[in-house]
């Protein structure tokens, strides 16, 4: 019954009363990949993740985990989940909490004990936390412990909802390294994060969601490569120049006779200089710019990076 697709959704739609959570989300994540899930606040990322984790029931459409319906015992057995809000109880020690979760995942005895030591080490916590009350942990330590609980039963799919929000740069790097290591072990990771540079560094595929719908998806390098921007400076930067450039792409005026032009097609690069000169202006600068995932993201959600 297991599918080669770790995650498969078809026209997944979730409404909360009259409020839409996500609409017609269709995506396929092959096993063993790191999938970056991006979108602004309230775009519907957490809704999709919660449906996949079996915490929300879809209004329509389907969602499967390795071919098993999301929320079914077979699907839940295969996934680990790090929620955005990781309200760990404060009274037990990390060891007690991990033992409890391990027992619920049908792990016992020495196997569980060894695995607890292993995941504690893996998330960069000192061994002493095993006997330390969670109530005394810092926010970063709690987040690491939360990741440890998700890894405990060796899940084949890890759903990470903002897993580095409470971590310092060192901690973020360690989590990135952990994700890369998990990919090497053929664990699929769905990474829902606002930190685009993290996603860009580790994701094999990304999807950008806006107002509940996926507006762009694919390999981040290919997506970025498929987009070319050029910084142009013309004298004078007349309305005629702006009109001519608008035919070739989206124009972001930057002042001082300069504008950033996001080309519709990278092949249009050769047409930029003739268009400016045909408008009766002199071309002073034409510099191709490498777009980042952040540029791509801001373009996809319809926002322009201020001051760039």
């Amino acid at each position: 019954m297991d599918s080669a697709l770790a995650i498969c959704t078809e026209n997944l739609t979730k409404h909360y009363g009259q409020t839409p959570g996500c609409r017609d989300v269709s995506m396929a994540v092959p096993a063993g990949q790191v999938f970056g899930f991006l979108g602004p606040n309230g775009a519907g990322k957490s809704t999709v993740v919660k449906v996949l984790a079996g915490l929300h029931a879809p209004t329509s459409g389907t969602a499967t985990i390795f071919g098993h319906p999301a929320g079914s015992p077979a699907a839940t057995r295969l996934l680990g989940f790090v929620p955005e809000l990781f309200g760990l109880p404060g009274w037990p020690t990390a060891g007690e909490l991990l033992r409890f979760y391990g027992n619920l995942n049908e792990m016992t005895g020495r196997e569980l004990s060894a695995r607890i030591d292993e995941v504690i080490e893996r998330v960069g916590l000192p061994p002493s936390v095993r006997t330390q009350r969670i109530g005394t942990f810092s926010k970063g330590m709690r987040q690491r412990l939360c990741i440890a609980t998700a890894l405990l039963h060796r899940p084949r799919l890890l759903l990470l909802d903002e897993p580095t929000s409470a971590l310092d740069p060192v901690g973020r790097r360690e989590v990135r390294d952990l994700i890369i290591l998990l990919r090497q072990e053929r664990t699929t990771v769905l990474l829902n994060s606002h930190i685009l540079s993290d996603v860009e560094m580790v994701a094999d595929q990304v999807a950008i969601i806006r107002k509940g719908q996926i507006v762009m998806s694919g390999n981040p390098a290919a997506l970025v490569a498929g987009n070319l921007s050029v910084m142009v400076q013309a004298e004078p930067f007349s309305p005629a120049v702006e009109r001519a450039l608008a035919v070739l792409g989206r124009v972001e005026p930057r002042g001082g006779g300069r504008a950033l032009l996001h080309l519709n097609q990278p092949d249009d690069l050769g047409a930029v200089a003739p268009a400016i000169m045909a408008s009766g202006s002199h071309l002073l600068e034409l510099t191709p710019q490498r777009e980042s995932l952040e540029d791509l993201f801001l373009g996809a959600i319809g926002e322009v990076k201020a001051g760039a």
């Binding site: 984790a53 079996g54 915490l55 929300h56 839940t76 989940f81 809000l85 309200g87 979760y101 619920l104």
Partner: protein, 278 residues
């Protein structure tokens, strides 16, 4: 069943570390000690003025009034224990971590129910046993028929705990607490109407009271317990009821009804939790 017990064990350990439970236990010990002290002073005094049978009747009457106060304390404890059972854990995300284990929502609900109902029941049993023990230590002795109290006194708080936990699958702690407290108050209103109906001979009042008691059988179960206990006291029980200012004794079927009510509350609570988006 193993996972239900695992969740129950974890919930129980969590509850036992809460300061609230310590305060509650300390308050119960103080109240019971005060009761024992009062009875130990009152018992020789009443014996000086009354026959032993009359003196005991007075003490049993006092115990009954005190038990009524403890019934309120046990109800409040049950509500406190169960009202925050599920809602806050959904809000802070810990329920998300729990439910992405291989454990069903029904198992989590039943585990939490087992823990909170056990605590509510044990606390009530402690109160009832404490009253009995105080009477033994203070002089009048173990009240006849007190086994009915030990058996039935914890039932009301268990019913309340189950109702509160079921409600906490949809409401926050305060909403659940207030609504469950209202259920307890409504049960008292049912008893009041039945009493007024009995005294005035009004079948309308009586029937309204019975309907309310069926909807919220908590106080009816308590009344059944009181009647069974006072029956056990014999002459003294008859003496206590001679005023006629009582609601009629509930039938034993009220206990069966309460058991059915509990099953329905558990089923509805489980279903509510299973179908909720978390």
């Amino acid at each position: 069943m193993r996972k239900v017990l695992l969740v129950a064990g974890f919930t129980l350990r969590e509850a036992l570390r809460r300061r609230f439970l310590l305060i509650l236990a300390a308050a119960a010990v103080v109240v019971l000690a005060l009761f024992g002290l009062v009875i130990s002073r009152a018992w020789p005094e009443t014996l000086r003025h009354l026959t032993p049978v009359q003196a005991r009747a007075g003490i049993w009457l006092g115990a009954r009034i005190f038990l009524g106060a403890l019934n309120i304390l046990a109800a409040i404890a049950a509500i406190f224990l169960a009202a925050g059972g599920i809602g806050p854990e959904v809000e802070n995300g810990s329920m998300h971590l729990l439910l992405t284990r291989t454990v069903s929502r029904a198992q989590v609900f039943l585990g939490k129910l087992l823990a909170t109902a056990s605590l509510a029941g044990l606390f009530s049993l402690f109160l009832a046993a404490g009253v009995g023990l105080s009477l033994v230590l203070a002089g009048p002795g173990w009240p006849p028929g007190w086994h009915y109290v030990l058996l039935i006194f914890p039932v009301g708080p268990i019913l309340l705990a189950a109702f509160a936990l079921g409600l906490s699958t949809r409401l926050g702690t305060i909403g659940t607490g207030i609504t469950t407290l209202m259920l307890f108050v409504v049960a008292q209103v049912g008893t009041m109407l039945e009493t007024l109906g009995n005294v005035s001979g009004s079948s309308t009042l009586m029937n309204t009271g019975i309907v309310i008691s069926l909807l919220s059988p908590i106080d009816a179960v308590y009344r059944w317990m009181i009647y069974r206990w006072t029956d056990g006291i014999g002459v003294v029980g008859a003496l206590m009821r001679s005023t006629g200012m009582e609601a009629p004794a509930p039938s034993v079927w009220m206990l069966v009804w309460a058991a059915g009510w509990l099953v329905v509350v558990i089923l509805v609570g489980t279903r509510s939790f299973r179908t909720r988006d978390l």
